[in-house]
């Protein structure tokens, strides 16, 4: 019996490998292969339209990248978009989660209605916002003019306001995602903690500050991780609303131009590799934060 057990375990683990093999191959094909070929391409000169000029580039694409003012400007614009939109999404998402957590009747209806924006495909949501933000025919201006808040229609997608409008649309679209994650976190906090706190004389604010926030921290960190990674790669909303005009171009939009409009696979891949590394580093930092938040609990 004691001899048979390890053999059986070994046999089982061998079986497990075989059972996992198809999905691992699938992951390798869909995940590893494109990423690796992107790395390889980033060291070549390769434009699909000028296939005859294809050749090894060494680090030339990366040298070009380092001197590319557009890439740098778009990098800062992407950071700006990410920080502001994720910040608002966390604040509004937390507020929404706290409200939803206290609702007794009609919770299902509330949950459904709050998730709706998140369920819409981004392109559809963005197109809808482009109609809302249109200066003549848009809903936003007509409401504001009727309320007397503004005298003349505002060009929401024009200079100065375009990035703010894009952030508005993104916050509307993804706040529900944050709210749902934080709501799950709130549900996981046992009522007893609050009872104990109130016995100790803690008011609402102190309960929130010393019970809710610390216990919610891992969930906040998860929401932050997902949203930051997503926001940093933002494409559709920008593409539909401004096409990258008036200081709204993000790195993904620039990469799209390079890869698809110019069919420049070499340089485009170098930019993709850079984006990949940036997102990787940010996620690493956030994961550390996540780990730290777990340990303090």
């Amino acid at each position: 019996m004691s001899r048979a057990a390890p053999t059986k375990r070994r046999r089982e683990s061998r079986l497990a490998v075989w059972l996992l093999a198809p999905s691992l191959a699938f992951v390798a094909l869909l995940g590893a292969f494109p990423v690796l070929s992107q790395f390889v391409l980033s060291f070549t000169h390769y434009n699909m339209k000028f296939a005859d000029e294809r050749g090894f580039a060494g680090l030339e694409n990366f040298a070009r990248l380092a001197a590319d003012a557009t890439f740098l400007q778009d990098f800062w614009q992407t950071i700006y978009f990410t920080v502001i939109s994720v910040g608002f999404e966390l604040a509004f998402g937390l507020a929404a989660a706290l409200v939803l957590n206290r609702i007794g009747r009609g919770r299902a209806a509330m949950n459904t209605s709050i998730v709706l924006p998140w369920a819409l495909p981004t392109v559809v949501a963005a197109t809808m916002w482009s109609l809302i933000l249109n200066d003549r025919m848009g809903l936003l201006n007509s409401v504001l003019v009727k309320l007397g808040a503004i005298d003349a229609p505002v060009v929401w997608l024009g200079p100065g306001l375009a990035m703010g409008s894009i952030i508005l649309a993104d916050v509307w679209k993804t706040t529900p995602f944050v709210a749902i994650i934080l709501l799950a976190g709130l549900k996981s906090i046992p009522d007893q903690y609050y009872e104990a706190a109130s016995l100790d004389g803690a008011g609402r604010w102190h309960q929130f500050r010393f019970v809710t926030v610390p216990l919610l921290r891992p969930f906040i960190a998860i929401a932050l991780l997902f949203r930051t990674m997503d926001a940093f790669r933002v494409f559709d909303i920008v593409w539909v609303l401004t096409g990258g005009a008036t200081k709204t171009e993000t790195l993904s939009v620039y990469i799209y131009r390079m890869l698809f409009r110019y069919s420049d696979l070499g340089y485009g891949s170098a930019m993709t590799v850079a984006l990949f590394l940036i997102v990787f580093l940010i996620s690493l930092g956030l994961l550390k934060l996540l780990k730290a938040s777990r340990e303090t609990v």
Partner: protein, 417 residues
Amino acid sequence: MGKLTTLAGAGVVLSICFLVGCSTGDDGVTRMIFAAGQDPSGATAALIEEYNASHPDVEVTFQVMPANTDTQHDAYVTYLSAQESSIDLYSLDVIWTAEFARAGWIRPVPAGLFDEQEFLSGPLESVMYEGTIYAVPWFTDAGLLYYRSDLLEKAGLPVPETWSEFTRACTSVADPAGIEGFIWQGAKYEGLVCNFLEVLWGRGGDISAETLRDSPERAVRDVESTIDFIRELIETGISPASVLTYKEEESRRLFTEGQVLFLRNWPYVWSIAEDEESSVKGTIGIAPLPHAEGETGYSTIGGWNIAVSAYSRHPEEAFEFLAFITGERSLSLRAIEGGYLPTRKSSYGDPDVLAANPHYSGFFDVFQNTRNRPRTPHYPIASDIIQENVHRALTGEFDSHAAAESIVTEMAAILSR
């Protein structure tokens, strides 16, 4: 990723090929595929059917492509870079000829396939690359000035020809009526390139390879003053600031709702403006675009050509079909049924075409003075150089002189590449 998309593209084509069958089969029938955007009128499909009926040894299939121009372009680039041979004929936007010819993806058109004299000069120029003809013009498009004839008549003003007449009409007619003077396409996209070049040409400037090489200072001056001129249109209220966020449809909608005196747009607006739902039905007219004193107004040319793939296995049969589908009768039928503007001059004298489209006589005048956008294999980059710099200068992010200098130096580099 590139390889994957190529593979995926090839896969799609192969499956199409498998489904409809390509090449010459055992039955001795030559099967060919013609890829083009949708034709809702059905005229193209009818013509192909007719061709197949009269050519028992040939069977052409119409492969409908996505309506979005960029999507179509990306699909073709994927097919052709994978040396796809099942598609024999492609319809190409006029700005793609140089790119596809340089890549070696399309075949030079054999001499004598068509008579160059019979075509409008603008579309004809668009099928040439380095002196060789690579396609046949199929249907055309050009920028037009739409105006409110009722308002101009009431004010006793003629249709403006020069910019000074134009701006005067805007201040004396549009302002008192409480409507916008002039709406065009100023968002950062391809349409801005067309609009910008028209104003530049109408002021006697240009950014052709020769001008950029021989007199770059003059080019900088012309581009700068054109940007300043357009900016002034916005600053003086002739065009609203929001025009810098408008594409075709946003601008068209304002016009057909009766909120605009002058609109620069493409021929498609005519039938919408004359529709029952339009509030300007029966009160509009079309004219060539305005120009500076002593200059000529030019319209940017749009439209589509048809080319034979370099990888087609049946080039002879493909060219024969190409001659048919771009023939006089085919173009006229598509004009009558679908409103596609013919590229052959004779169609504009065809009584059946004019009976179906009385406004074509007005278009024909405009088509006399058309120009092509820069013709280069690097067109997408050239377009982005103009879009970026002009838009940034118009929104005040760039100084107009700096924008003009970067347009001229960057365009010169692209055009000489």
